[in-house]
Symmetry: D2
Subunit: 239 residues, 4 copies
Amino acid sequence: MRVTVWNENVHETTEDDVAERYPDGIHGAVAAAVAEHHPGARVRTATLAEPEHGLSEAVLEETDVLTWWGHKAHEDVDDEVVERVQRHVLSGMGLVVLHSGHLSKIFRKLLGTTCNLNWRSAEDREVVWTVDPQHPIAEGVPHPIVIDRQEMYGEFFDIPAPDELIFISSFTGGEVFRSGCTFRRGNGRIFFFSPGDQAFPVYHHPDVRRVIANGVRWAVPTGERRSPVLRNRPAGWFE
Amino acid sequence: MRVTVWNENVHETTEDDVAERYPDGIHGAVAAAVAEHHPGARVRTATLAEPEHGLSEAVLEETDVLTWWGHKAHEDVDDEVVERVQRHVLSGMGLVVLHSGHLSKIFRKLLGTTCNLNWRSAEDREVVWTVDPQHPIAEGVPHPIVIDRQEMYGEFFDIPAPDELIFISSFTGGEVFRSGCTFRRGNGRIFFFSPGDQAFPVYHHPDVRRVIANGVRWAVPTGERRSPVLRNRPAGWFE
Amino acid sequence: MRVTVWNENVHETTEDDVAERYPDGIHGAVAAAVAEHHPGARVRTATLAEPEHGLSEAVLEETDVLTWWGHKAHEDVDDEVVERVQRHVLSGMGLVVLHSGHLSKIFRKLLGTTCNLNWRSAEDREVVWTVDPQHPIAEGVPHPIVIDRQEMYGEFFDIPAPDELIFISSFTGGEVFRSGCTFRRGNGRIFFFSPGDQAFPVYHHPDVRRVIANGVRWAVPTGERRSPVLRNRPAGWFE
Amino acid sequence: MRVTVWNENVHETTEDDVAERYPDGIHGAVAAAVAEHHPGARVRTATLAEPEHGLSEAVLEETDVLTWWGHKAHEDVDDEVVERVQRHVLSGMGLVVLHSGHLSKIFRKLLGTTCNLNWRSAEDREVVWTVDPQHPIAEGVPHPIVIDRQEMYGEFFDIPAPDELIFISSFTGGEVFRSGCTFRRGNGRIFFFSPGDQAFPVYHHPDVRRVIANGVRWAVPTGERRSPVLRNRPAGWFE
């Protein structure tokens, strides 16, 4: 299992409180979560500031699952890189989109919708409920997960109806959110999981870490990587 | 539009507070909700105590949509009547299952699961959020609906993944619930809507009434009523 | 019901046999199909060669449902117009994508996948089977529809799992295809229907015309047109 | 992986040609298919004629996945055994329903519909196409599978919309069929796969055998076996 953890890494490098909360960056916290649950995995990180954002053709070819965290700098992500990532997802690379990644170029490009939602950065408690208890991503996850302080994400969340709805969250303010969703696109598996924020230590929460690690495992492609093709087939081609 | 509103009518006839809350029975309140939104509809009611529970073959043949409310007396519903209702649903009759009807014989028979859930009869506030805003059942419905006092229904709710998930509710206690779901079975359309209880005046809430009326309209069959059949087809039968 | 029928109109203006088959253009045939089933509808057409391809902001604002036919000239469609159409779909405008429109920019942009498939332009017979007989788009449609000569479209068809699968086709060569699918994106309804080709008179087939007209009716938005938005919500905003 | 292969075993014991085609019974052929792909699995068989049809409480408790083949004797299966199997499926036991098992009591009870279809026992060729190529059940399966002679099963097939549609078949006569479908019910996973018949040697086809073995592997429960329960939860129970 070869995992690339991508992070824009802007909050951590410009805001002291975030740097203190995530001394290795959000990418460091996410990478550690994957590694602690999958000791055999090869986990690397990549960030916005690197050449090609650390997502060259060579890196993606060697990546089974890419995780994505972005927030402030979505528009700074190069369109060419986004198209490259899309191509790899449609060819089979798994993608785990985290929290504010809902507005990333790559997520919106793969889903085709605005991915808008309601939000509030206050002191809400988020409670994450499992509605598909036998899904591999829910394995070992308590029902519910309680996150003491977290940004509120609320409906209406403008996404296509997910292929599988695994988690629904409630917030102190009374809002609800489809917080764990899967989508299959081309040969790739996509998992979106909303808990997690730069302003709260959510990526240190053991159950959040477990869900992310489960999501990564679930998104690993089976079979060879290839894009669906347009093909002219003569009559009798398969006989 | 010919609607039959079914109610076990046990709480209302044995408990003073329920009788006071619903002087015409829960069936009376639901029938009024349908009638106020669909002035041209022919709305009748039927209850457990009637012969064949008021659901004879003749009544069902003349029913486009049946609504179902039961709670204390699910086991007193005759199996033969349940099979008759199932047969009509599979032939195209619409079915709107309300609140505690989740444990009715007919709902469990059509879905195949236990339909169990978590519950609490306290003083929770229920907030009903629309996650499919263009669905005809959500038409004219505020986002969110606020119900000041209501029984809590919480996940895990043991139903098949719904064909369409329209509403998700949160409760004061932090629970969430898939409170508005559709299912297609045979030629029939089924809508489950959980808000509503004998202990609270929820069926007098204007938005709850609107959702029920929308659900009834949506469940009306199109085309002739007939059950899917097993048929031996010779080669070339359609040419 | 205000319908705009879009067509690239290239085959008809450059190939004699197509011009003979569709003397009013494919757009003319599709527009006539819609008009014959919806006598009250306001149906207009638009083509690639017009300024802004006939799809100005003003035209789209007055369009409830847009139908799309393209084949040879997908890449000539201006990206700005494509983004405009996407914005209108996400705001609620219906979209009916026909046949080779599966590779149009707008369809791929809304679905996020390659939309590739297998194909063969020979003399296959296409037989279209209904697998969701109560869907409004299947109303009045024979089971099966037989199209004597038609281009083969076969699986694997690289689309997201449709929200509803209504039609499946078989071809003489033994291939199958998910030929009638719905997708909800933002506030818009999308219907893809594959039967229809420039090389065969499929748009004169009465049942194909009925399906297209049904699809247009189904895709009409309910409620006001607006795009889902990103919104900061203070605690207690809905109380 | 503990697998119980159930077969009514009536054709094989009363018709010479079937006995010759399946000298170890259809259960023998299916069990061998599972064993050849999962060498570590403990595979046992059970048939209608055994006490409790070989499906005692003890057997089911030790069964991770049950496969089901029946045709002539559906009505001879004891209702109590059917309820026991349903209870185990809802608690997490996997179920793989094969071919004419579509009309078995257990399949109809779990799905809630008639499960009727069109059929023809002639000399059709069945071609099985994969429409979800990344699904674990499609792993290693050629696209398409060609079965030279097979009973035709055609739409309309009266099942709930499957959670996942993996295979679609075409037949020489032009019919199509949703031949590989998954359904989640309670904590259990259900896979229906239609290729296979007593009158043709389909269970000796290597690709059919692979799909069945894949389906068994996919249906193995994860986590402990337990039925979803109805539970009264006080406020604050999860804090």
